[in-house]
Amino acid sequence: MDILELQSLKKYFATQKAVDDISFNIKEGSIFGLLGPNGAGKTTLLRMITGIFYPDSGNIIFNGKPFNPMDDIINIGYMPEERGLYKKMKIGEQALYLARLKGMSKNDAMVSVKKWFVKLEMESWWNKKVEDLSKGMSQKLQFVTTVVHEPKLIILDEPFSGLDPVNANLIKEEIFNLSKNGSTIIFSTHRMEQVEEICDHIVLINKGQKLLDGTVQKIKQDFKENIYKLDAKVMAEQLMTYIFDVVKFEPNQLLLKLQKETTTNELLKYFINQNVAIHSFNEVLPSLNDIFIKLVEGTTATRQFQNIN
C-alpha cells in the first residue's frame, strides 16, 4: 500500500518554478530516497509534504486520504536540512516541548523522550542547554525530536551531515529499525553512496521536474553499459577481438565493454580458448553517483532565475 501519493504537484514562486508537475508514490514501510542537486526543488517538495506550503495545484494523498496538515501532522516527523533548536532551552525540556507540540500527551511524551535518550546514550544531557552541545550532539537531539512521536512518515533532509562515522552509523541503525517497525522514511540527500546503501526506491528531480523514478536495482539495470570486470592475467595481444572494447587495462584486471550482441558466455569462452586463467568475472553496474552526474551534468549547475507570470 502507498502511504504517500503525489499527483502533479506544482509550486511556483515569483522567480522560480520550484516544483513543476511532479508525481510519485511511496510504499508504506520503504526507505525512499529523494535526490537532486542543490536547488532542484527538494525542500519545496518536502515543505508541501509536511504541510508548511500549500501546493499551487495537484494533490497529496496521505494514508489513502487527501492530506490534511492539521490532522496528519502527528503522523509526520520532519527534520529540515537547516537544523534548528532553541539554544537557551534545556535539552530534555526541548524534546518534551516539541513532542507535545506534535500532539502527544505530557506523560506519553516523557516516556518516549526518555526511551530515545537511553537508546542514543543521551541521558546525561537532560539538563544541559543546546548551546552547550557540539554540532554532532545537537544533530542527535534533532533526530530524537523528529522521531519521538513515532510518526508513520519520517522525513530526513541530509540526516548525516555533521556526524562522525560512529554516530552516523548509530543513526543509520535507528533508521533501519524504524523502517523495520513499519515507519516509512523519506531520505533527501545528494550524497549518493548513502542512498545506495540505505534506500529501496529513489526519485531524482532536477529543476523542479522528475528525472528518474524506480528501485535502486532497476535504475542501475536501466543505466548499465554492459561493462564487466575480469580478474586475470591477460597479455595485450590476447585482446585483439571484435566482441568487446577494452575500457581499462591493468596487468591483473580488465574492464571490458561488451558489444550488444555478445553474451557473457561468449566472452568467457573466448578467454578460456586463449588459455587465460580467470580468477573472477562480474558485471559492473553504474553507481548512482555516475547516473546522477550523467543526468544532471550539462544542465546549468545552479538554477537561473526566470520570470513566471
Partner: protein
C-alpha cells in the same frame, strides 16, 4: 488551542524563570524609588556642609547681626582688616569664602560687593548670600521709610488658587498637579511597555528564524499559532511584571512603617515643620482619592493590552523578515516606532490641554491612542470618545494581526536578502501561500 497554550507557556516560563527577569522586575522600581528618594533627600537637606563666610562689613549693613534664616551660612564678622590685607588670610583661618562689603553704598561709585573664594562658589551659595544681603537692605530701607517690616510681610502674602469643578454631583476639588502626574505616568508606562515588550517580541521572532527552529515549529503548528503564542506569552510576562510592581508598592506601604517606625514620626514632627511639605503630601493624597481610580486601572489594562497586541504583531512581522543583520532590523523598526514616539509627543501636550483637537485626534487614532488616551483619562472626557477610541483600537488590532500574520508566515521561512516594502505588501495581501 492546546498547542497555542503550550507555546504561550513556553514563552512565558522561559522568560519568567530567568534570573534577569526577577532582577529587573524588583531592581528597577527600587532603583527608581531610591533615585527619587535621593533627589528629595538632597533637596530637603540642601548643602549639608556649613559655609563659613568671613564678612568685612565696611558698609555697616548688618551691624554685627546677620540674617540667620539660612542655617547653612555662618557669617563671622571681622574687624581691623582691609580687603587687601584679609584676602591672603581667610583661607588659613578656616573660611571658605570672604565677603567684602565696601563702605560707600550711596551708589555713586558703584562699589560692588565682592565674594572672594579659592574656587568658584556654587550657584546656591551665591544666591543664598545674595538673598541675605537683599533682605537686609530691604528691611533697612523699609525701616528708614517708616514701614514695619512685619506689616510688609503680611501685605505680601502669597496667594494660592483652588480650582473647583462643577459637576452634577456637586462641587469637586480639582488637584491639577496630581491628575497631571497620574496621567503622564500612565501614558509613559504604556509607552515604555510597548517599546520594551514589542522589541522583545521582535527579537524572539528573529531568534527563531535565525536559529532555524522556525521550520521545525511550523511543521508542527500553524505559523499564526506560533506568532500569537509568542505575543500572548510575552504579554503575560508584562502583566506579571505589573502585578509584581503593584504588590511591591502596596507591600512597601505596609512594610516601611514596620521596619522604620521612627521615620514616619520623624516626618510628622521635626523635618517638615515648614507646613508646605505636609500640605503637599495631604494634597497628593486628597488628589489621588479624588481621581476615578477604577476607571484609570481598567482603561490602563485595556489600553496596555490593545496597544501591546497591535504593536506586537507589527514587531513580529518585522522580526520575521529580517535575518541576522541587525542593521536591517533598525531600518525596518524605525517606521514602526515613529507613531509610538508621536503618541508620546502628543501625550505631553494632552496632559496640559486634554480637550485640544490634537489630543482628541491622538486619543482616537489607534496607533497613538493607547498612550494619548491615558493622558486624558483622568480628566472628564466625553464617553463617546472613549468608546470610539476603544472600538478603533480593537479594529486596528484585528486588522494588523491579520495582515502581519501573512507577512510573518512568509517571512519566517525566507532566508537571504531582506524583502522590499513592495514585496511585503504583496505577501500581506496575497492569497495564502502556506497553511493558514
Amino acid at each position: 488551542m492546546k498547542k497555542i497554550k503550550l507555546i504561550i507557556s513556553r514563552e512565558y516560563f522561559t522568560r519568567v524563570k530567568k534570573k534577569s527577569f526577577l532582577i529587573t522586575t524588583i531592581l528597577v522600581p527600587l532603583v527608581i524609588i531610591s533615585f527619587y528618594a535621593a533627589i528629595i533627600a538632597i533637596t530637603i537637606d540642601g548643602d549639608n556642609e556649613k559655609q563659613n563666610v568671613a564678612v568685612l562689613d565696611d558698609a555697616h549693613l548688618f551691624n554685627g547681626k546677620p540674617d540667620t534664616s539660612n542655617k547653612s551660612m555662618v557669617f563671622t564678622f571681622i574687624s581691623n582688616e582691609t580687603e587687601k590685607s584679609f584676602v591672603n588670610k581667610y583661607k588659613d583661618l578656616g573660611y571658605q569664602s570672604f565677603l567684602y562689603l565696601p563702605g560707600d553704598t550711596s551708589g555713586k561709585s558703584k562699589n560692588k560687593f565682592v565674594l572672594h573664594s579659592q574656587s568658584s562658589v556654587s550657584l546656591s551659595t551665591m544666591s543664598a548670600i545674595e538673598d541675605i544681603i537683599n533682605n537686609t537692605i530691604r528691611t533697612k530701607q523699609l525701616i528708614s521709610n517708616g514701614i514695619d517690616p512685619k506689616e510688609f510681610d503680611k501685605l505680601t502674602n502669597n496667594v494660592s488658587l483652588d480650582n473647583t469643578i462643577d459637576t452634577k454631583e456637586g462641587e469637586k476639588k480639582s488637584f491639577a498637579g496630581v491628575a497631571y502626574a497620574v496621567s503622564y505616568g500612565c501614558g509613559l508606562l504604556i509607552y515604555m511597555m510597548m517599546m520594551i515588550y514589542g522589541t522583545q517580541v521582535m527579537r524572539g521572532v528573529t531568534e527563531e528564524k535565525t536559529n532555524r527552529i522556525a521550520e521545525v515549529m511550523v511543521s508542527s503548528v500553524k505559523p499564526f499559532q506560533l506568532m500569537m503564542g509568542k505575543i500572548l506569552g510575552i504579554g503575560a510576562v508584562g502583566l506579571t511584571q505589573f502585578a509584581i510592581w503593584i504588590i511591591l508598592i502596596v507591600g512597601m506601604q505596609f512594610a516601611i512603617p514596620l521596619i522604620f517606625p521612627d521615620m514616619t514620626n520623624h516626618i510628622n514632627s521635626s523635618n517638615l515643620n515648614n507646613t508646605e511639605g505636609v500640605s503637599m503630601v495631604t494634597t497628593a493624597l486628597q488628589g489621588l482619592s479624588s481621581l476615578p481610580i477604577t476607571k484609570i486601572i481598567l482603561s490602563f489594562l485595556f489600553y496596555f493590552l490593545g496597544g501591546y497586541l497591535t504593536y506586537a504583531s507589527i514587531f513580529a512581522a518585522v522580526g520575521s523578515v529580517v535575518s541576522e543583520d541587525q542593521q536591517e532590523a533598525q531600518q525596518l523598526v524605525f517606521p514602526v516606532i515613529m507613531p509610538i514616539i508621536l503618541g508620546f509627543v502628543i501625550l505631553t501636550k494632552a496632559v496640559n490641554d486634554p480637550n485640544s483637537s490634537l489630543a482628541v485626534f491622538g486619543s482616537l487614532f489607534p496607533l497613538t491612542s493607547p498612550i494619548v488616551m491615558m493622558g486624558r483619562i483622568t480628566y472628564d472626557i466625553p464617553v463617546w470618545q472613549i468608546g470610539l477610541s476603544m472600538i478603533l483600537l480593537i479594529g486596528s488590532f484585528l486588522f494588523f494581526t491579520w495582515i502581519t500574520g501573512k507577512i510573518y508566515r512568509t517571512g519566517i521561512l525566507m532566508y537571504g536578502k531582506k524583502p522590499s516594502w513592495k514585496e511585503m505588501i504583496k505577501w500581506a495581501f496575497a492569497k495564502s501561500n502556506t497553511k493558514k
